[in-house]
Amino acid sequence: MSAVTVLRAGTLTTVQDGGRPGYGHLGVSVSGPMDPLSLRLANLLAGNCEDSAVLELTLVGPALLWHRSVRLAVAGATMSACIRLPDGSEVELPCGCPVEVPAGSVTDFGEAQRGCRGYLAVRGGFGGAMTLGSRSAQLRSGFPGNCGRRLERGDELELCGDSEGGNGELVVAGWFVRLLDLPVRGGETQVLRCLPGLHLTQLDSPSMDRLANGVFELSTDCDRMGYRLTGPVLSMPTVPQLRSEAVVPGTLQLSPDGRLLMLMADCAPTGGYPRVGHVISADLPGAGQLRPGDRVRFRMVSVEQADRALAEQERAIAGVRAMLACV
C-alpha cells in the first residue's frame, strides 16, 4: 500500500527537492522550490536532509490521507490547515514545527493567508521517480518520468525508506520557527533587492527612475517559470539585438512591450531579452511567496550587501539547526 492518498489536489501541488543543477548546458531548467528557504526549513523540522523531496503547495493546499504514522512539518505560506484524526476529532495543523500524525489521519490544507506557497515535508522525504538526479516536477518538460506533473485527486504517493514517524499518537511541538516575513494579501509593497543587469544602463533616464522608484504588480500571467509584471513601462533608446545567453532565477528581463519579466525556478537556462537586474539570492525565497496582485519595488544594492544578506539568512538556518539538535 502507498503511504499517502491524495483526496483533493489543491490549486497546484508538486513534488520539489533541491532541484536539477548540472544540466543547464543541455537546456534543462534547475527547477526546485520557488521558496528555497522554506523548503530547507520544512525538511530540517521534519528531520531530513535540507534538500529532501517535499510537496510545494500553491494558494490552496491539498487534502492528504496518511496510511502510516508520520512526522510532518509545514513551512512557508501560512495556510489554514487541520488534522482530522481517525477518531473523527479535528485539531489545527500548525506551521513551522514538527508534528507527529497517527496513521489514518487526514491533513487538510485550505487557503494561504500570508504568502503563496507552503512546503510540506515528511520524515524520510517523498519518494517517486527521479530524472537527472532530481524528483522536482518540471511541468513543461514532463520531468520526472511520467510523474512530472501536478498532483491529482486519487494519486498515491510513496515515501523514502520505511521510517515510521512517532508512536501513533498525535504530538504537536509547543514552539514554532518562522524565518520569512511573509507578504500579506493586499498589504505593503515588498522590496526586492537587486544587482544591476548588463543592460541596465541602456534604459533611458526616465525609465531608470521608474525602475528605481516605481511600484510593479504581479499580473495574472505568473507561474513557476516567471512573473510578468505590470506597472511602469520601461524603454531603451536602442534595444540591443541579443542572441540567447544564460539567465538565472531572479533575472529581470525587459520584454519587447517594455514590461518586466522576473524569472523564477523553472525558467529556461537561456534567454534573449535585455537584462536590467537580478534579484539577490537572499530575496528569492520572499519573491517565491508572491502571488498575482502583490506589489513590489526594486532596490539596487552592492555585491557586498547581497553577500551580507545571504550570510544573515544562513545564520538563521544555522540557528534552527542548532536548536533542533537540542530538542
Binding site: P21, G22, Y23, G24, H25, L26, G27, V28, V30, T131, L132, S141, F143, P144, C194, L195, G197, L198, R243, S244, E245, A246, V247, V248, G250, T251, A268, P269, T270, R275, H278, V279, I280, S281, V303, A306, D307, L310, E314
Partner: protein, 234 residues
C-alpha cells in the same frame, strides 16, 4: 581554438549566483569551437559550489551556490585561466550525422525557403546536405541545438506568426541559424524536414544527442530528395 591572448573576455555578474565571461568580438576572429572548449575546461575543473557551466554564442556562464563560493574570487580565477587556455590550440566536439526526412508532411516551409533562395527544392536539400553545422549552444528546450553554418542565401526571417505546435524532430531554420526541435512545442522557425532521432532522452547518458561544439551533418532522405515527386514540386 588558438586565439590572441589580447582578446580577453569581460566579466559580467548575473546577480550573486552566476558569473558570465563575455567576448565582444566573437564574429570576427574567434573560432567557433573556442567557447564550447572553454566551457568544457571549466566544467572539468569541478570547482566547489559550481552548479552549471552554460555556453552562449559569445559567452560562458558559471552558475554557483553563493553559499559555497564568492563571485569576485571565481571571476578573477576564471579570467586568469581563460587567458592561458585560449592561447592553446584545442579541438572540441564530435561529428554527428543526423538523418533528416524531406517530404510534403515533414517539410511545410521547404518550398518557400527554396524559392526565397532562388533555387529548386532539390538544390536546397543538396545545399543543406553540404553544410557543416556547428552546435553553438543548447537552449530554448532540453536538447535544442542552435546551429551556425547556414549559407547566407538561406538567411530567411522567422515566421511572422509562430506555429502553435511544431512536431518533435523538426529541422528548422530562421534568422541565419538552424535548429532541431527535440519535443513538440510552439515555434516560429521555418520547418524544412524531420528526424526520427531522439534529441533528448533524460534516461540516456548523456541525455542530449548533441553538445555545444559538435559538428552536425544532415543525411537527407525521403520523397523530396533526388528524383521522385521532386520534379512536380519544383
Amino acid at each position: 581554438m588558438k586565439i590572441d591572448e589580447q582578446i580577453l573576455p569581460t566579466v559580467v555578474m548575473l546577480g550573486d549566483a552566476a558569473v558570465m565571461l563575455r567576448w565582444e568580438c566573437v564574429d570576427e576572429d574567434f573560432p567557433e569551437a573556442t567557447i564550447p572548449a572553454i566551457r568544457q575546461l571549466i566544467s572539468e575543473l569541478r570547482l566547489r559550489g559550481v552548479r552549471d557551466v552554460i555556453p552562449g554564442f559569445e559567452s560562458v556562464t558559471v552558475c554557483f551556490n553563493p553559499r559555497q563560493c564568492r563571485a569576485v574570487e571565481l571571476a578573477e580565477f576564471l579570467t586568469q585561466q581563460v587567458r592561458v587556455w585560449q592561447t592553446v590550440e584545442r579541438t572540441c566536439g564530435r561529428e554527428v550525422r543526423i538523418s533528416v526526412r524531406f517530404s510534403c508532411e515533414d517539410s511545410p516551409d521547404l518550398m518557400e525557403v527554396a524559392s526565397f533562395a532562388g533555387m529548386s527544392v532539390q538544390d536546397c536539400i543538396r545545399v543543406l546536405a553540404g553544410c557543416s553545422f556547428r552546435v553553438r549552444m543548447i537552449g530554448f528546450a532540453p536538447g535544442f541545438p542552435y546551429l551556425s553554418g547556414l549559407p547566407e542565401c538561406l538567411r530567411i526571417p522567422r515566421l511572422a506568426t509562430p506555429r502553435r505546435s511544431v512536431p518533435a524532430g523538426s529541422f528548422a531554420i530562421a534568422a541565419g541559424q538552424a535548429g532541431i526541435y527535440p519535443q513538440s512545442s510552439p515555434g516560429g522557425w521555418r520547418l524544412l524536414g524531420r528526424t526520427e532521432q531522439v534529441l533528448f532522452d533524460p534516461c540516456r547518458e548523456p541525455p542530449s544527442l548533441l553538445q555545444a561544439g559538435d559538428v552536425v551533418r544532415i543525411d537527407p532522405c525521403g520523397p523530396l530528395v533526388g528524383g521522385g515527386i521532386a520534379g512536380a514540386v519544383r
